[in-house]
Subunit: 289 residues, 2 copies
């Protein structure tokens, strides 16, 4: 079957509904396009888990601030289409902004509490409301059995999991590991903004996280001491400006003073004008890897 | 088939899902129980439109303020069950608060704008967030083809319609007319709070709305003059305290200074400690009835 590309909500819904009616399982990979190996790892998992694979390509305006890069967010639909064809995807849902948000649109899905007040929510307070809302819409349009999200956006993943549970979506959220370049930089569409000098500096996110892991492996349990060392390392690197570094509980996202159970070490750093995020999960009771 | 009563989300979901899989249409009537003729009119319409009829009975805590009547809201499940059996309902979904809201629940659906800032939202700012959230949950659990709501809760109906459109729920919202006692009082579970003297006063809501209609039929188009007359009428009635009276656009819920197109005249009045609401829609171009 050639890949189907649909732009209307009604077509996406009826195509996916037909699969459901035939007892076929449907997997959804929501993306903003400009696909990289990170996205493709989700697509491959979806392909292996489901009868029918849908990838949405939609740069969602409600998760950008006016000052952010909505207008310049990288796009290359032809390349995305080719990549998704190669992965054997069945359907690309590629709606316009107008198709997704009518002019009188005024409904939002909001996850409240620490999950949406800490980390990325501090500098991007609008972000998770936009994400939860568009994902709820995509879930209602595609009605997937499974939906795939990367650990790269750790906070987004936790918020989607929270939303699915709280609003009783009957959808399995499948979390997938971070995919990295060979020097450790986490794959991101925004990496394309970096010039060669900035690209070299950008590896400091991964290196700082690895350093934190080494410290914990050596027995350090004080978050403050670990964060201070990470901070020093990043500040010593050209082009960087720290947005946040934090060590939080992997479920509640509450900051942890001491590392007594599994934590998420999460980091957001501006490389000149490009904001990059990365994170690792570390369980002090299980430090083998 | 005897009526089924299920208390768990999983059982409600699997029973309704089975109907869907068999190509049967599912109608949902969400209620807080203590059913009256208003509810039963929705149930009858659902029965006539669908293969399988689900009535949810759940007093939703997230739509009450601490100061409100959540703890004393009238309940009589045995009577509700009997009434629904008589109407040939297939399934009653009767979950506990704990089943619907786990302790870490923190996701809300919020409709923003005039629709949720005017009228009832002024004195009950929490109300519509609670309603939209629980209805979204019920929609995801039951996955109905159609859902039934009364014009009695005009603002709630408009908000649900807005939410269904904005979040792309594939559900037909069926609005149903207000059902009244013979003296005009709109049926409401809260009418049971009224003593005989208060009950007599309570007809002023309907009488004030009828008076407004008469004025408009006679050619009056100024909202202020109509509202002033309604106010006078209510204030002259014992036990009353006006929460609001307003004349708004039926779609945007923006207040209308002049009546040039269809409007909603909406009214909320305290009868001692019981808050009652009522409304009528009037189209000045179509004043026949």
């Amino acid at each position: 079957m050639p890949i189907q590309i649909v732009q209307s909500i009604a077509d996406a819904r009826s195509t996916c509904r037909l699969q459901n009616r035939q007892g076929k399982s449907v997997g959804l990979v929501p993306t903003m396009g400009f696909l990289h190996e990170g996205h493709l790892s989700l697509v491959r998992q979806a392909r292996s888990d489901n009868d029918f694979v849908v990838v949405s390509v939609f740069v969602n305006p409600t998760q950008f601030l006016p000052s952010e890069d909505f207008d310049t967010y990288p796009q290359n639909f032809e390349q995305d289409q080719r990549l998704l064809e190669d992965e054997g995807v069945d359907l690309i849902f590629f709606p316009s902004t107008k198709e997704m948000y009518c002019s009188s649109n005024s409904t939002f899905v909001e996850v409240t509490g620490q999950l949406t007040t800490n980390l990325c929510a501090i500098s991007r307070p609008h972000f998770f409301r936009g994400v939860a809302t568009v994902v709820a819409k995509l879930f209602n349009i595609v009605e997937p059995d499974r939906a795939y999200f990367g650990h790269k956006d750790a906070q987004q993943l936790a918020i989607i999991q929270r939303m699915v549970q709280d609003l009783n979506f009957d959808i399995e959220v499948v979390p997938m590991p971070i995919v990295r370049d060979s020097d450790g930089l986490a794959k991101s569409s925004r990496n394309s903004y970096l010039n060669p000098d900035q690209r070299r500096s950008s590896t400091v996110l991964f290196r700082a996280l690895q350093h934190a892991k080494t410290l914990i492996t050596q027995g350090e349990r004080s978050s403050n001491r670990i964060l201070a060392e990470m901070e020093k390392m990043i500040q010593a690197t050209e082009y960087t400006r720290i947005d946040y570094i934090n060590i939080v509980c992997t479920t509640s996202f509450e900051p942890q003073e001491y590392i007594n159970s599994e934590v998420l070490i999460a980091i957001a750093v501006w490389i000149t004008n490009t904001r990059l995020i990365d994170s690792i999960r570390i369980d002090p009771a299980n430090l083998t890897s």
